[in-house]
Amino acid sequence: MSGRKFKIAKIRVISSVIPRRRILLQSLRDVYEKDNLERIVRATGISEIAVAEDGMTPSDYCAKAAEHMFSETGMKRENIDGLIYVSEFTDYLIPGTVAPLQNRLGLRNSCIVFDLRSGCPGFVYGVFQACMLVENGYCKNVLLCVGNTISKFLHPSDRALRMVSGDAASAILISACEDKENRLGKRLFSDKEDSAASVFDFYTDGSGAEHLMIPAGGMRTPVRKGSTDIVEYDEDGNGRTKENLHMNGMEIMVFATRVVPGLVEAVLKDTGWDKRDVNLFAFHQANKMMLKRIGKSLKVDNDRIPFGVSMTGNCGSPSIPLMLSNMYSGVHPEFKKVVICGFGAGLSAAAGTVDLSETIILPTVRV
């Protein structure tokens, strides 16, 4: 059951960056035979992976995405009054990542700032939180930073995850559409009464947490030499230690196909939108095959469920804004009714309805 509709908060700008470093999957013949490699590339739709440089964290890439947004749009950083940092990974154990990021970006001290620890559903959770800050009047301009460098937690012998997992970051500006003070060039949100309202719905089943997990390195199982760094192989022959990301691909697939169609139907019903009128279903970019499966269950043609990370890989929480930056740079007045849905680690899923018809989508840049 969803709460009230958000009518004021709108996604105003999307800026995405990926690392310069990249791996062509054809070069991974050491872990997969040629035929298998081609089969997997065909099924997942991913042929290239963006990989973070050594020493770079998700917040480093988020900062670059935010700086790119400031320079390209002319948005003044002193007008940012909220900062949300979404990632599975934190720069330090203490403090959270968001405070140093506020300082690095030169945002004002009165900003509301917080970390939001989330994986693949993180972008939708972040948009939801930003909308709440705007709708209740605490903020006019929230900067949502969503970053992921999962490549640092993949074992070299993990064939399944090395083939699909990439690194990226996005900075998203969520503003009050009634705010007249912040012009971005000549662009300003209209006050059209038919502007679509946003609604969000959520689903979590923690009984499946182990299916997408890095078991060691947290408080429950600290990293211990000779214990957490021993390589074990699963039924598919993927090698991982407890310090690496573990994924049970079939369980994730089952979760997504069971939960996502129902969640999307629910958020459409709560918003009062007809599925046929939705311009775009911007879903978490897990892989091409999974989106095809979800589309089939939803009875929505694949043209409206785009897959746009073939040159970057599944980048987790930033995958939805990254897909938009990869495929739809510019302004798209036709994106009046867009459904966003993230799903994965938790196991968790989140869906929302948004109006992107006046959103400036910047093209992805390599940094």
């Binding site: 089969r39 039924e235 022959g237 079939m250 499966r293 089939k296």
Partner: protein
């Protein structure tokens, strides 16, 4: 083409093996029938027989023989 030929061709198309190699196969019994291969196989079967498999059936589809049993629920006799 018989239903059995269609069935084995789906294995061939999805897993990149010869149709004759399909008989007796089990999920994760060969490298090609991993989770990605499994979903490719489900799609190939759905296309071949014009059906849409329930999620429970996708999960239960653990072998060549089990697949034949599941398809019978959809009126497909192999």
């Amino acid at each position: 083409m018989t239903n059995r030929e269609k069935y084995e061709n789906a294995f061939s198309e999805a897993l990149g093996i010869e149709p004759a190699q399909a008989k007796g196969l089990e999920y994760q019994g060969i490298q090609e029938w991993d989770s990605i291969g499994h979903m490719e196989l489900v799609s190939a079967l759905e296309d071949a027989f014009g059906i849409e498999m329930e999620t429970d059936d996708i999960v239960d589809f653990s072998s060549y023989d089990k697949g034949i049993e599941i398809l019978s629920k959809y009126g497909v006799v192999i």
